[in-house]
């Protein structure tokens, strides 16, 4: 008995199965290709949204309001502590500078500020936090620590905007996963159904195999290989489709979204690692579908 001879037989038999029921396999390969193509697009969109959120996160600024009683030396000490705590940079804005800035922002209305008997604005520190601390959770924790410092009267970092952005990102991510799971399930069901048809078409051959002493594993192996090959072909077609899509639609999309992500900010649709992941996902889909088909239908 030769393992090599058996393996060669399995591959020959799988290839023959693909040749003898081309339409059935075409349906399965097309389904896998559509699923992998959609997954590839969804993946790229997800990465694009992440990049967008990252760039918007750069706008986040933490403003720390200080007590008006705090003198310059006290403010400088606080500034040092905040820089050490946040790991970023801090800029002290004295009340007068804050009032001037407000007057500039208000334009003509700003003249009214000159009528005020005294400057109502407190001194403040504008804190620029590093990229890794710009998540909603990290910002919230930092704000709590800052509020607890003596001499601090308030902290503002656009909490609502950050949390909304984060919620949108989360919703997109979970929505993407749910959509992917639905497509995955539908694909496995279709692939499994097509393979059941292929198995049915070859029931005579299976009967004879059983009569001459084939084990269940021997009967099932070519069908599992067929599923794997379907997955490989489907993923290959999807990758070719994604490459074509990037070539044809990429420049147009880049100019369309440049106002959001900036020039050159578009993420590439296919990177080698992602291409490999999609290829593996295709093979997994084919193998999974065939596994279910042989398990349910090939009770031999």
């Amino acid at each position: 008995m030769s393992v090599f001879a058996k393996t060669a037989y399995f591959w020959r038999s799988a290839a023959s199965g693909l040749r003898h029921a081309p339409f059935i396999h075409f349906v399965a390969v097309t389904t896998i290709a559509i699923a992998i193509f959609s997954a590839g697009l969804a993946q790229a969109t997800g990465r694009m949204v992440e990049a967008l959120i990252g760039s918007l996160g750069g706008e986040v600024q933490v403003t720390v309001y200080l007590s008006p009683e705090l003198d310059e030396e006290g403010a400088a000490v606080l500034r040092e502590r905040m820089v050490a705590l946040s790991g970023g940079r801090a800029n002290l804005v004295p009340p007068r500078a804050a009032l001037e800035r407000l007057a500039t922002e208000l334009g003509d209305l700003g003249e009214a500020l000159a009528q005020l008997p005294e400057n109502p604005l407190p001194p403040s520190l504008e804190l620029e936090v590093p990229q890794e601390r710009r998540t909603p959770g990290a910002l919230k924790a930092l704000a709590q620590q800052l509020r607890a410092m003596p001499g601090v009267t308030g902290v503002d970092y656009g909490e609502e905007a950050v949390e909304r952005l984060s919620a949108i990102s989360k919703a997109l991510r979970y929505g993407g996963w749910v959509a992917f799971a639905v497509v995955l399930l539908a694909t496995v069901v279709i692939v499994s159904a097509t393979l059941q048809l292929a198995i049915y078409a070859r029931r005579g051959e299976i009967e004879i195999q059983k009569l001459v002493g084939a084990t269940d594993r021997f009967v099932k192996a070519p069908f599992l290989i067929e599923g794997f090959l379907q997955g490989l072909l489907g993923a290959g077609v999807a990758l070719a489709g994604l490459l074509a899509f990037e070539r044809l639609a990429g420049p147009g999309l880049a100019s369309l979204f440049s106002f959001l992500v900036g020039p050159g900010g578009m993420v590439p649709l296919l990177e080698p690692r992602i291409a490999l992941e999609l290829l593996a996902a295709g093979c997994g889909l084919g193998l999974g579908g065939s596994f279910i088909a042989v398990g349910r239908f090939l009770r031999v």
């Binding site: 008995m1 030769s2 001879a5 037989y9 004879i208 059983k210 009569l211 001459v212 084990t215 021997f218």
Partner: protein, 231 residues
């Protein structure tokens, strides 16, 4: 080689197909199994190659109790039993050579070795010149000879033939029967189910007669042939 002790086979809601079957077939023996349609001939053969499970009783094949055999062990049992059917069960899209080699693929026999064994087997059944033909281009007798070659290519110790000549004309019937006799002469235990009395008369081999699921007679060849001739 084949022993049955008080074997019953019944399907739920139906009367038993086989009842209290007791049987002992020696190694190298040739046995006819006869009886009217529905007597249980095919079921009895299926019990031997585990195509069906006995409802009750013990069955020994080559000394192994197959009434209690595990599902996973059945393929290995079948590799020692060749099976021939009336409806041939050939793969129409494969050549004669590939059909015979099919039984060796299952065993993982390398292609070169398999080809040699297939050629030897096709020579034995007189079809070496048809190796590359498709089954549907062969006559009924030739197709049946391909099936016999496939059944024998693994060198089984038992050959079961269920109405192997049922679809053949008298000349081809004798051709196939002579071939089965040759196989038996080489030491293979052969069991042939048939309702063709002329074969029993002609070949004079031990004959078991089944009726309504019971073995009603078990006679040696001469006695059975005499009884058949007397009508």
């Amino acid at each position: 080689m084949i022993q049955m002790f008080h074997v019953y086979k019944a399907y739920p809601g139906d009367p038993p197909v086989l009842s209290d079957i007791n049987l002992h077939v020696q190694k190298g023996e040739f046995v006819f199994l006869t009886g009217p349609s529905g007597a249980g001939k095919t079921t009895l053969m299926k019990l031997i190659f585990c195509g069906e499970k006995a409802t009750k009783g013990q069955i020994l094949v080559g000394g192994r109790n197959i009434a209690r055999i595990r599902e996973s062990a059945i393929p290995y049992l079948r590799r020692n039993i060749g099976v021939v059917f009336q409806d041939f069960k050939l793969l129409p899209h494969r050549t004669v050579e590939d059909n015979v080699a099919f039984a060796l693929d299952v065993l993982g026999v390398p292609r070169a070795v398999a080809r040699e064994r297939v050629q030897r087997m096709l020579k034995l059944v007189g079809l070496q010149h048809k190796a590359s033909s498709m089954p549907l281009k062969l006559s009924g007798g030739e197709q049946q000879r391909v099936v016999i070659a496939r059944a024998l290519v693994n060198d089984p110790t038992i050959l079961l033939a269920d109405e192997p000549t049922g679809n053949l004309d008298p000349a081809l019937t004798l051709e196939i029967m002579d071939l089965l006799m040759d196989v038996n002469a080489r030491g293979t235990t052969v069991m042939v189910a048939t309702h063709d009395h002329s074969l029993i008369t002609r070949y004079q081999k031990r004959t078991l007669r089944l009726e309504n699921g019971f073995i009603v007679s078990d006679e040696d060849g001469v006695k059975a042939a005499r009884r058949m001739a007397a009508g």
